[in-house]
Point group: C2
Chain length 613, copies 2
């Protein structure tokens, strides 16, 4: 592998289709609070981002994977090129695109920001975690902090002067956040003394910025057990003086970093707070025990960001596999397989290669649509708040409902799809000469951090389905129903739309089953079937969005003259939709039937019967 | 991670159940050619192997993964401990267990050998590739070579003095073996001059033995194109003198080794033959252009060995995840999730953890059964040849039919299952402190080497289904039918047996569809649906075997007094079978319906519509 060469590719035509043609960027842009934006501006940003990642982030992705991070005397050295990339990224302004101008941003809709983020993550997943966490922490403070705190921290975190982290996990408290033991003792000056050890802290220590602002979940002495007793603290790596300048080191130490399967450029740290009983933290805002709800301000964004990482690597893997399949000749056409002297053809002519590529194409596009849809609901909610509160509430509800799908589904699909694209390469995919094996390794963490898939599934079935008296789900279903009614008779997609309708009915059956279980003696069936439901509902959503895209694309294609380059692009949308409708949507009915079996075997089997002695 | 500590675990009770109670080791052993064997001897071998791998191979697995192989001046240095392990392995005799005594072996049934191999591969996948290839190459020569060649090579390769390789792949000829360009020119002395470059050669160069015997596929000048024109050559790394001792170096050079995602302890080499036009090879046997059928003698064994690697790592991952789930406390019981002060419980009490573990338990056991079944058919075929040729032919047919299932299914499931077990660990699974992330990386190659999954699938639908006029498939189906008839009314499994019958019917429908396509205008549907069919048929086989095991276990359990330790073990078999019947077998019907849709979208979509510019 040549070090320092960009290997990241994406498809901007696909992105603008999703953004503009499918999710109506122009209906959102041009109006407050997005006055300055239109499709042309969005395209320019996408093009510029793509140039940036090919020049700056892509070339240091594989090298950073090999080099990893080093811990020397308590300080983390990030891989070669990361410092320069950080500087270039903030100079270019890609992280502040959707911030309002008064906060130094450019006021763009989030639906554009997510596509920019896809490229940042896809070209260098590990690198983009540092600015991603900085932004997330800054946004949290912007929502929850006191005016004074905002003044001290937020601007510097948004412009890249300082970085940020979220410190939840402890050795005994991973998915079980309520078990956090890190303590906070109020001092006479109103600050707190923090004491405890946090693990798996991404970007917990590094050399990219002059300071790092840790947001630390801790329990004030005497606070209740569980999540209700957690408070959130600002704990800077270097204490901040009255002049706003970083000064003496706080009592925070990075005692080790993890050696991982992937995302090796991202420092995953063990952080010790208060080993010398002198770790000073400020309460975020003014009220104790509000930490968990404050943290969730950041967590929802982080979950969407992980969903984007999934889309990003699935897409990157698809693009590199497609390129390889076009270039690489291997074997004769299957039509001439008996003729030893038949000419060798590109991999792309082989049916099984085409099947795998179309699988990845359909899934990648559909998952991207899901993320852009979620972001567009957020934009519309913001836009309509105050003028049409009912509609705004609908959009907010869809954000709530779709967040676990975006995080849960894409993070499970990304490892599958990257591995499938590795298979397209054959043995070449297993070696580091090609980027795809790194994509596989990097992608495997997505289903774990920021809440495992099961946590997403329980969020969906335990909270989101019933939220607003079930209104979000009903509206989601009703949106699909409207699509089905409108396109049932479509010449190209009619049969696929019927499949969608059948899948929707099957999902409803399962949703009813969950409701029944929650009220009776079968509560244990809920966690057993939750992941399956998350998958089914995500597939329904993705199938719907792919069909919606297909219908729009067919309409657009019909208006184009023969030979127009977009005709092939629109044709691709047709087959993404048809392939998914024929190969994925039918699984929903089968999964629904399996759900109805109410299999309790995982609970019935005794611990001893799992064996291992 | 402490270097040099064994982290491999298996379950010998499970192995002896499969070997003795399910597949009737005692009906095969004790009779020619396995006179010396019985269940006690088999158990002793399994126990001794397990001791060996825990002491010798397990402790150098993670260290070898980190260290990898080094190429220095054309010589490969294997990781620390590999040389000593090689010596200890051959002293202990584990590689020659199923060889006949007259060839220095112990005359054991293959069905025992496969379980020994599972432990060798599971404890150190990369290491076991070196002796595995040596054995495979020796067996090939034992079948195909001249008496003189056998005398020179085979014994030394079987006793570990020399190693061996199989050299098929070239840069332009991977799955497309017929495109091999390496040439062979007959010299005056009857030997051949070999010229060409082979890539991805596992164990192609190393420091474990004084010599390496390469088996090289090449094309004699003037031979036909394609696989029909390939011959197989013995090309020793060091030329062998009349005294049988290795002497001057042959003209074979290792020019580079690959940097891979996993199996880092296994040297994957580029080998240049005849750079100085002085690479001497001997034709295997006496006939040119017989290379591909000779190579397949080794290839079938190699495919089963890869299937075993899949079982081995799935099982190893299950065992370590189960241990972790028993030890690690996280979160309150789901029954008390609202109570923040409820005690923390082991992961194993959480429903979703149990679901994932039972998934892995059922799949691992069922895949192991599939391999042992295949091996037992081979043993019986050997035992009955000459005395009952009709039965022997039946058994040989099942070996043929099951080989692509064993290779294809386990190699796809192993990456899924190791990743699922990583999920049980949560974030801890992603770091190198635990063995599971290495299992994931190592397992990803299985679906590629020794014939990709699609090659297995095409072997199944294109050759094996129709072999013997369809007899193998009919007999396989009739065996399942017999089981269904016998156990349809079973109190515990009756409903699951009905599901099995439905799945069998669905598979038959798909098999009929393939037959129809092969005779008409829809030949392209065969490669499009082949992988799906391979999965379906494998699932049917595994579901059947798990139910068969379940029935036997229930019978055995009923005879045991309360409190007998085997009662829990047998209970585990019940739930493996029920879980699979309720969560996997129903998918077969859904997949069959999808097959019937005859989706041609991957062929209809134009190359341009895949996009990527």
């Amino acid at each position: 592998m040549a070090a320092g060469v960009n290997r990241y590719k994406t498809d901007l035509r696909e992105m603008t289709f999703t953004l503009v043609e499918q999710f109506g960027f122009n209906e959102i842009a041009g109006k407050a609070p997005f006055e300055a934006w239109g499709a042309d501006e969005a395209k320019a940003v996408l093009e510029s981002t793509y140039r940036f990642v090919r020049e700056v982030l892509g070339p240091i992705n594989a090298t950073a994977d090999r080099e990893g991070c080093r811990l020397e005397n308590g300080q983390v050295k990030t891989p070669k090129g990361f410092k320069e990339a950080w500087k270039a990224l903030y100079e270019a302004g890609y992280k502040t695109l959707s911030l309002s101008p008064e906060r130094g941003g450019q006021g763009a809709p989030k639906m554009l920001q997510v596509l920019v983020e896809e490229m940042l993550s896809g070209s260098n997943t590990a690198f983009n975690m540092y600015p991603g966490l900085a932004s997330g922490a800054a946004e949290l403070l912007d929502h929850c902090a006191t005016p004074e705190q905002k003044k001290t921290y937020v601007e510097r975190m948004l412009n890249g002067t300082w970085a940020g982290t979220m410190c939840l996990t402890e050795a005994q408290a991973g998915s079980d956040v309520g078990a956090v033991k890190t303590s906070a003792r109020k001092a006479a000056d109103g600050t707190y003394r923090i004491q405890g050890t946090k693990v798996f802290i991404s970007a917990g220590e590094h050399d990219l910025t002059e300071n790092i602002v840790h947001l630390v979940l801790a329990r004030v002495d005497g606070a209740p057990a569980g999540t209700r007793g957690l408070s959130l603290f600002i704990v800077p790596k270097l204490r901040v003086g009255a002049d706003g300048k970083p000064g003496a080191p706080n009592d925070v130490a990075c005692s080790s970093i993890e050696h991982k399967m992937g995302i090796n450029g991202s420092a995953t740290c063990v952080l010790n707070f208060g080993d010398n009983d002198d770790c000073r933290g400020e309460l975020v805002g003014t009220v104790e025990n509000a930490g968990i709800s404050q943290m969730f301000k950041m967590m929802n964004g982080a979950r969407i960001a992980v969903g984007l990482q999934g889309v990003a690597l699935a897409s990157a893997a698809y693009q590199c596999a497609l390129e390889y399949a076009k270039d690489r000749k291997q074997g004769a056409s299957f039509k001439q397989w008996k003729d030893a002297s038949a000419p060798r053809v590109p991999l792309l002519e082989h049916p099984d290669i085409r099947r795998m590529l179309l699988d990845a194409k359909a899934h990648t596009e559909g998952m991207r649509m899901l993320v852009v849809k979620l972001a567009s609901h957020g934009d519309k909610a913001r836009q309509l708040a105050g003028s049409d509160d009912e509609k705004a509430a609908y959009h907010r509800g869809q954000v709530e409902l779709l967040t676990p799908l975006v995080k849960g589904y894409t993070s499970e699909e990304a490892p599958r799809l990257t591995a499938l694209m590795l298979q397209v390469f054959g043995g070449a995919g297993y070696v580091k000469d090609h980027p795809v094996e790194q994509y596989c390794r990097d992608a495997k963490i997505f289903s774990i951090y920021e809440g495992t898939t099961h946590i997403q599934a329980m969020d969906l079935v335990g909270r989101k389905l019933g939220q607003g008296g079930g209104a979000h789900l009903q509206q989601f279903m009703s949106d699909i129903g409207g699509f089905v009614d409108a396109h049932r008779g479509d010449a190209t997609f009619g049969k696929a739309v019927e499949t969608l309708a059948g899948a929707q009915e099957a999902l409803l059956q399962s949703a009813m089953a969950f409701m029944g279980w929650s009220q009776g003696e079968k509560v244990h069936l809920i966690p057993l079937a939750a992941n399956r439901f998350l998958t089914m509902m995500s597939q329904l959503a993705v199938g719907w969005l792919l069909l919606d895209a297909g219908v729009r694309a067919e309409g657009a294609r019909a208006k184009l003259p023969e030979g127009h380059p977009d005709r092939a692009f629109y044709e691709g949308k047709r087959y993404s939709a048809l392939w998914y409708a024929r190969n994925v949507l039918p699984q929903i009915e089968a999964q629904s039937k399996m759900t109805a079996l109410e299999d309790e075997s995982p609970m019935e089997i005794s611990e001893a019967a799992f064996v291992a002695g």
